[in-house]
Symmetry: C2
Subunit: 379 residues, 2 copies
């Protein structure tokens, strides 16, 4: 006969308290209270008529945000990583050739995911801070003849905004699908899914959209659907199988906060205004950094991601001391590098509602203060 | 040059409104406002000290709920389905033999997931409403020598609570891991992970726990970890790879609502009281149904799932008319069958805060009203 052997934990007797912080790292960003409060709506069922209406509204919002008319537009119940797997699991079969443009961690991640499901993966690699020309893309497409090309639009590990124009058309010349990760860029920099002939586009909710993590918008072109729905094998994941998602989407009855998000982007601001504002605020920020004597990691202006700025780690300082000092003294998160950029950069994300001149001034003041108070080696 | 071609959708100009309903289907259940309101806490980062504390608290809550001391206890960012895939993707390698006890949809689903990743899957099948004896389990284990046996504790499609005692010990005699789905049962019926020698146990958040969907608690025994961390191949999913989850868990910075949930189970109620209450309320409900002349689908009392009751579809009626009538007239969701039980049953879920005599009375009154007003054939 079994009996209770693990007692109720004492730690759960105290109420949950979470401090407010300025979330100016590469994500998550701050979530405005009106979006958080949308989550207080009651949960309803996955077959109730209102949920279909909500799903349709979310779909319209994503179509606007992605600038697409794709019918196959939905949100995955998971983080941006799950949308990345959703794209790769559905579009790629074992043995398929996949080409990944690697200029930071997200390309590495996509290559790893494709390898795990048995694809033949080839990469083109640019150094941290770099990106690829159309000629480099064409050379690789022509050599490897992939079924899918992956490009990260916003490479948040290095702060690069990868130009997208012309790549979709090039892919289609080589009968290849064009997959774009816009987790760190959507809403903060222009993306035109249909006009740029992007076949699969996904993002996350916790960056420019200022929503809690856990919902990942994704869209598939007709061309992508044709490949996916004529697969010879089933995708490895049932959870992310597009044929089920297409059918069942919204079946978890979650009263998504995305309508509020889309409201935010659409109504309060508008997509073009949002892009413009992120650009202007980033330029203002970059000028401020340079006037302090700091250097930007991405040299070429047009390649700078307006949502996540990478600053060359200040010479003579320990970057960890700087980020810790700013967190402790200013209640403000900025971060160090990620994978290829560790030790090389500081990263500051100003996304969605966080993208404002006031916040730039706050970050600049915090950085000045940190450079004054943190230990500097004499070297 | 690209330009905006998809205008902001008008549908997103109106605020999100979601009606309140009595959610007495097999899930999701109602979420009490104190749990919904916990989600209004600010989002913080995945490396902030408070998030580690919150993660530890969640872990303690899950350990209590599962009655386990397993260190490898966490929550997946996804629905119950993603936890199911997390279990199978990590524990099974291509070519491994897997045994699935199928007595409803969840066994079918587990078999499909294991097949998709290249396992050799064998099943034992019981008719809807049935379950398996220890002898049947042993015969199959001895014949197929699987690395993993799947059993659904609460088979919500048929309303069966599968006895668990003795199966874990049996599995270990055959060097097999014991995987249990407790999505529809945890908190509503006794489970003792350690004492019952369950190697992998998972659940969802939107049933007895009365939390929003999208977070799935899961725990792995030492024995399970040994197999998982000595794999020859990588799991197909990066997102659900246990070596990353173990390392990174909580990395999405989501201020989980699970602490509140666990608070609910631990403090307001206590696990044993919760089990007892679900059982008593179910018995009260079943007696009421029988006194109305309705029949229970699961004949043997001890096999009846206390969280989801299956009622034999009333003779002469169209079950869809009954569920629609009750939704329309009483603002109350009950549902029909699922996969093997479609057309055979009505399903009523009374889970967590919904498990009360008042709610039973409400459902009984609604059913009486429906049987009076819905069309009955003369046959």
């Amino acid at each position: 006969m079994s009996s209770i052997s693990v007692p109720p934990p004492k730690c759960l007797q105290k109420p949950l308290t979470v401090p407010y912080r300025h979330m100016f790292g590469p994500g998550p960003s701050n979530v405005p209270s009106r979006i958080l409060e949308a989550g207080v709506n009651p949960v309803i069922g996955h077959m109730h008529p209102e949920i279909f209406e909500i799903m349709n509204d979310i779909k319209s919002g994503i179509q606007y945000m992605f600038q697409t008319q794709n019918k196959m537009t939905l949100a995955v119940s998971g983080t941006g990583h799950s949308a990345m797997e959703c794209a790769i699991f559905n579009a790629v079969e074992p043995g398929d050739s996949v080409l990944v443009a690697v200029n930071g961690i997200w390309g590495e991640r996509a290559a790893e995911m494709a390898e795990r499901i048995g694809a033949r993966v080839n990469t083109i690699v640019a150094p941290p801070g770099g990106c690829f020309t159309i000629e480099e893309m064409e050379k690789a497409l022509s050599k490897h003849r992939p079924v899918l090309l992956f490009v990260a639009h916003g490479e948040s590990s290095t702060g690069v905004l990868h130009p997208l124009d012309g790549i979709g058309q090039l892919c289609h010349k080589y009968n290849c699908l064009f997959l774009v990760d816009s987790v760190a860029s959507i809403g903060g920099a222009p993306v035109y899914m249909d006009q740029q002939e992007i076949d699969i586009l996904y993002t996350g909710s916790q960056k420019v959209l200022n929503a809690p993590p856990g919902t990942a918008p994704i869209s598939f072109s007709e061309r992508a659907c044709q490949k996916i729905f004529s697969r010879r094998t089933k995708p490895v994941s049932f959870y992310l199988d597009l044929s089920w998602l297409a059918n069942y989407w919204g079946c978890d009855g979650k009263p998504s906060r995305l309508p509020s998000v889309c409201e935010f982007v659409c109504e309060s601001l508008g997509l073009e205004n949002s892009w413009e504002r992120h650009l202007k605020v980033a330029e203002y920020f970059h000028a401020g950094l340079e006037s302090m004597g700091l250097k930007l990691f991405v040299k070429e202006k047009r390649l700078r991601l307006p949502t996540v700025t990478t600053i060359v780690a200040p010479y003579g300082y320990d970057w960890k001391e700087i980020t810790s000092y700013i967190m402790k003294t200013h209640n403000l998160e900025i971060s160090g590098g990620l994978r290829p950029s560790v030790g090389l950069v500081l990263r500051v994300g100003l996304m969605g509602c966080n993208s404002s001149r006031e916040n730039v001034d706050m970050v600049l003041a915090a950085l000045k203060d940190a450079l004054k108070h943190c230990h500097k080696s004499k070297v």
